[in-house]
């Protein structure tokens, strides 16, 4: 089976772009108190960016392991929905299904769906090439970011403690395409600020999921 060049190009550009986020994650992990080894293992095992950011974010803020895992897992639910969409396309079993599951993330699913006009083969290649490419670059970038942050030392001295929330802001910013979504983001910020003094560290982040549930429950006007 030959590799579709346009699909490979899309996959490669996505994989390299994701590398920038991987560096940020590596640095965020070390800034939150994880060792370089723990940070790298995190990317190898979990391999789902937003969840990893959330987990180290909660730990960095002083939250308990349980609330860190809860926040990360809530963010990982969307991968289940991606898997549901990708399974009938890939039609794999056994160890190939294990690999396909691990590579089921925003980017691989997005590229696969984006290649729909070019047919099933292009979609499949889009999934595998993007998933594998992102896996390689995400993990290399995590290592680079973690080593870089360790070399820098005190996080606040280099602005690393501001870089982490800025990374979250950038991640949410590109999702705010409509006024409704901007409203959800603004409500979430307000909700989190209000509950912060009343809940144990880390829990306000998890509790803010309620805003998503309330906003998504009713049909959008």
């Amino acid at each position: 089976m030959s590799i579709d060049r346009p699909t490979a190009r899309v996959a490669a550009s996505v994989a390299v772009t994701v590398g920038a986020y991987g560096v940020a994650f590596g640095a965020a992990g070390v800034a939150a108190g994880f060792t370089v080894l723990e940070t790298c293992l995190f990317s190898l095992v979990a391999f789902t960016g937003a969840s990893q950011f959330a987990a180290v974010g909660v730990v960095g803020a002083g939250g308990s392991p349980a609330s860190a895992i809860a926040a990360a897992t809530l963010l990982g639910v969307r991968n289940t929905l991606y898997g549901v969409q990708m399974a009938p396309l890939l039609r794999v079993t056994g160890w190939r299904r294990v690999v396909a599951a691990q590579l089921t993330i925003d980017e691989s699913t997005g590229v696969a769906l984006g290649q729909a006009p070019d047919g099933t083969t292009a979609m499949r290649q889009g999934f595998w090439l993007t998933g594998a490419g992102v896996y390689v670059f995400w993990n290399l970038a995590t290592l680079a970011g973690a080593l870089g942050a360790r070399a820098l030392g005190d996080p606040s001295h280099w602005g690393l403690d501001a870089a982490v929330p800025a990374a979250f802001l950038a991640l949410v910013w590109r999702r705010l395409e409509t006024n409704f979504l901007r409203g959800v983001a603004a409500s979430s910020v307000a909700f989190c600020l209000v509950v912060t003094p009343w809940l144990p560290v880390g829990l306000p982040i998890v509790a803010t999921t309620l805003v998503a549930v309330v906003a998504g429950w009713r049909e959008r006007g």
Binding site: V23, A24, T35, E38, F42, V45, A46, T48, A54, G57, V58, V59, A61, P65, I69, A72, L74, G76, V77, N79, T80, L81, G83, Q85, A101, Q102, T104, S156, H157, W158, G159, L160, D161, A162, A163, V164, P165, A166, F168, L169, A170, V172, W173, V184, S188, V189, F191, C192, T196, P197, W198, V201, I205, T208, T209, V211, A212, A215, G216, W217
Partner: protein, 103 residues
Amino acid sequence: MANWIVVLGTGLLAFALKYLGHLVPERWLTSARLQRVNALVPIALLSALVVAEGLVVKTHVVIDHRVAGLAAALVALILRAPFPVVVIAAALTSALVVHFAYG
């Protein structure tokens, strides 16, 4: 130890969620309500993380050098700067405030 629990717990649950999607019949997860809520969860959580990491120390809302960094990031985002520029702008601004304000 606590960090290992976070790494392995998050990692195993993340894989389990992915694998589950490849196993269950499609019709089980097609509820429009579930899809809508799920699409909003990242926005709510990421917004909360901006607050928790940028404006909070333990259980107190605090305005410090990180806010200057966030403001710089906001300006960069409004100017449509790419991700690395946004993050570096925030880091530089915050580091400058730390340097000049706290010595």
